[in-house]
Symmetry: D2
């Protein structure tokens, strides 16, 4: 279905965004649950830069699910802070597609968080299946 | 499909819940976007008390969408406050299904917010269609 | 405190953003609670274009709260849709600061939603106080 | 300040809750970012069963932050599923307060997710400080 496109040539990307008001908690810091959402934005953009958009993939039945999430919170980020998230492809094999993340504040380059996600590919019936070859990094 | 069940005999219900940490903003008050979610919990429970669960309805193709939302915010609610939401059916006709809401803090019975939603019924193709008769109040 | 800056000369602004994965519900449409957050992003940007940033205002004790919210949902927006939100200042007087919103999809210019918010100004003790003059539109 | 109360005698607790509509994504599964919020609800309840409420602690300056989060997602949970979360205290020392989590669906006892969080104690100036003794498990 996606054989007309090659493997993923772009192995990392950056996105910039501002912390929204509703993402911050009563400690005036980005709530720990929001980082998973930032990471998702990062890997969606990385996919886009490789010529794929995740919406189309999912609509055609390529359903990727997060199987594992790890976050180290190193410094708080505040409301309206401009952040830059670097997303890099990690290990990729038939069973999993790893991404690693580094989140920094633009103003002072402070490292806010480091993260890791492992994606798995599931079929419509929920069973695990192989990561499609077009999602592998180009050699 | 749902003809074996009658119209809705229960016209109002109460739910109680505690404000979660991530629902509160840096002013230490429930963020204004969260009330829509509370209202949704209220009308889901009202439906359940009438013998229907919204998940099954939606899975069978009865897709209700929020066409209108109004909220008056009267007093802030804080983290860990126990709240009670009263949901009442309002006007119901072929085009719309109204609910009205009253949110109070349990500790002091303070009125936190009043709300209104108007639901419409859309077909799979997104076109509006009639509100099913089983969602009408019993006479 | 903010007397060195004038009243607000910019009366409307546009922001563009993509719908995030976690903002969409199982109907594959932006959840009705998320619009309040988009509106907040719009009026924050409008304030910024007038030379104020809301974070600083709030940190200095100018606490604005949403007293009223109204949304008309006209068409669903989907995951990854690019949206454009127009925020305009409405009525402003000592008691309230109104904004009106229009949300469109960039791809087809479809009107997704219209909204209204009324902000009030509260003191540290929670009592209502006058909307500061620097938030009034320039004449 | 909290010396009138002893150490934590209750080392694990369960909470039950239903998945809310807005917590589910377009795959009809609880979004991966929401689990962090469930874990927070679990450890708040565990604290409450030990005689402390986190709101009061935080308001008195005992600010706990999440320093590390790990989640293994084992099976999807759907809208309106009733879930049961078991929260257990893990390692506790001067530097960190660990909790481990197990999330199951009530209907079929299916294991949905396993998690781990590490909390640190920060002073008002953001510097790390020791975990208070009253948060240690009773011997």
């Amino acid at each position: 279905m996606f054989s007309d496109k090659g493997r993923c040539k772009v192995s990392s990307c950056e996105i910039r965004f501002r912390v929204r008001y509703d993402e911050v908690d009563r400690q005036d810091a980005v709530h720990n649950s929001r980082y998973a959402m930032y990471f998702e934005m990062g890997r969606t953009e990385l996919l886009r830069q490789n010529g794929y958009d995740y919406k189309t993939l999912e609509d055609k039945g390529i359903k990727l699910v997060v199987a594992r999430l790890e976050v180290k919170f190193l410094a708080p980020a505040g409301y309206d802070d401009e952040l830059v998230l670097t997303t890099r492809v990690g290990k990729v094999n038939r069973a999993k597609l790893e991404h690693v993340y580094e989140l920094r504040r633009v103003a002072d380059n402070r490292l806010i968080a480091q993260g890791l996600t492992v994606l798995a590919h599931v079929r419509a019936d929920g069973k695990l299946t192989e990561i499609p070859k077009f999602l592998f990094p180009a050699e």
